[in-house]
Symmetry: C3
Subunit: 210 residues, 3 copies
């Protein structure tokens, strides 16, 4: 395809689930390494169970000749891509997308379904939300879910759905629990407002003067 050109194809969605898509033109790894991918949701007949909030997030990793934090245009490093040693990570395409620019917001009492994918090109993500346990996680059909997940590994080239309920207000950190990736972009924020319930969580008393 040339720039500006459009093409149309049709297909019958035979398998409900959330999936990653990307072009498969030779060589697909180079295109995916430039962020050319997205997410598609195929709902089961009758739809998924209703929730108050749905979010779509895709993690990607980036192989640049320069180091994390270097400014300006960064050349692609094929050496680092082969070594699976990225310089930075993004949620939805920018290292600051969900922790500074577009933080997620919700209210206590709401139910959430987060579709989270690992675009790669190489690395999966170990999704965790600090302070939250996922009620259900499923990659593929919601009928074969896993319950009460703390951290779930999403392989490169796939999506999973994470369902949870917000019980306590606060600023929740979403992260790849390969923790050193957090410091290079694999991190977002979910700001939850609402009434605090001391019976669920009672923080330590502040020091005198705090």
């Amino acid at each position: 395809m040339e720039p500006g050109e459009t093409k149309t194809f049709t297909f019958k969605a035979t398998h409900p689930g959330a999936y990653m898509y990307h072009c498969a033109l030779s060589q697909p790894w180079h295109h995916v390494a430039q962020g050319m991918y997205g997410a598609i949701l195929v709902e089961p007949r009758g739809g998924l169970t209703p929730v108050d909030r749905e979010y779509f997030i895709m993690q990607g990793e980036w192989y640049t000749r320069g180091s994390f934090g270097d400014q300006g245009h960064q050349e692609f490093s094929q050496t680092k891509a082969f070594a699976e040693q990225p310089e930075l990570f993004t949620f939805n395409g920018h290292a600051s997308a969900l922790n500074q620019l577009f933080r997620l917001e919700a209210e206590v009492g709401e139910t959430v379904r987060l579709f989270f994918g690992a675009g790669g090109p190489n690395l999966g993500s170990n999704l965790h939300i600090f302070g939250e346990i996922f009620d259900k996680v499923y990659s593929g059909s919601p009928e074969t879910f896993l319950a009460n997940q703390e951290t779930y590994h999403v392989p490169a080239g796939s999506m999973a759905a994470f369902e949870f309920e917000l019980d306590v207000p606060g600023n929740y950190v979403l992260a790849d629990h390969a923790l050193y990736r957090m410091s290079r972009g694999a991190m977002g924020l979910l700001l939850v407002s609402g009434e605090h319930d001391e019976s669920l969580y009672s923080p330590p008393a502040p020091r005198p003067g705090e």
Copy 2:
């Protein structure tokens, strides 16, 4: 054991499933790094549900002092093995085994059960078939399957079973979706012949002159 020697042991297979086997003589990592492993299937009583095709594939990674593509005998690199930085990947023992030498073949309408393992010695595989969604994936008992999987992570030292049905003809690429591994051997082809069904997939119209 000396070369040419044979030994016999017997065991009762108590857990149905598909498993990797390898020697555990000290030090097992060196033997596995030389490809000394295989796959064993223990069928449940009454057998697995019949399918039209069954394939067994094991991925392995190789740590050589030379680079991918170098010709002739390659010395083993313990440094790269400790760093988990292989030079090449194989499906069934050769980087060209399933994409050039012995391509898999099947027909539209057939059901397939693919047993896929990650021999390692270190790395798991993120199995994906471009253009296909797995109806069921199970590592271990078929009773605890996961439905509608796009990409499934098989840890080093294990097998999983992937069941799917072939709806549309074409050349399907099997790959580790850690995509840069594809370019160094982690890739095979499944050639599916048969009638095309436009109601399932209608490709873009060719350009004038194509």
Copy 3:
């Protein structure tokens, strides 16, 4: 918190399961990289099904400027931590903890529930016991288990429960099946004593003179 200071907080455990905990003070990766984490079990109402033995093991990896085997104090290497290239691995905090100092012991006929976690800071573990198949594995709720698992991937930042029964006496090796990690600490021993049952396993006959 200052050294020697204590603080108290309370919370209602709303999700049964086994979980990893760690401080989330900025920057959590540095604290986790120093081993500041642990395991917590929230039993479902009525408790988990009784077993004869329960063990808690957490794997961690360590990023030192020196190499594996160097003696004395080792400085932390941030470069290796970012590259996810550790020098050594531990089960419960010491590279010799469970293979030399405190080997696990059990008897033939006993049932075991092993809670195994991957503290990280970066790497998951591919838990395998040489010579054993896990009857059930669950990360989170025991209701959504996977049966007959050979090797199970525990992501960094989580725990899983592994249930199995001991049929044959012997010295069983527990390991991260990313095999080269075994040689740098990711390994423990479970010594199982009791009657040998030839109908379950009959080893090869010894050579004359052995």
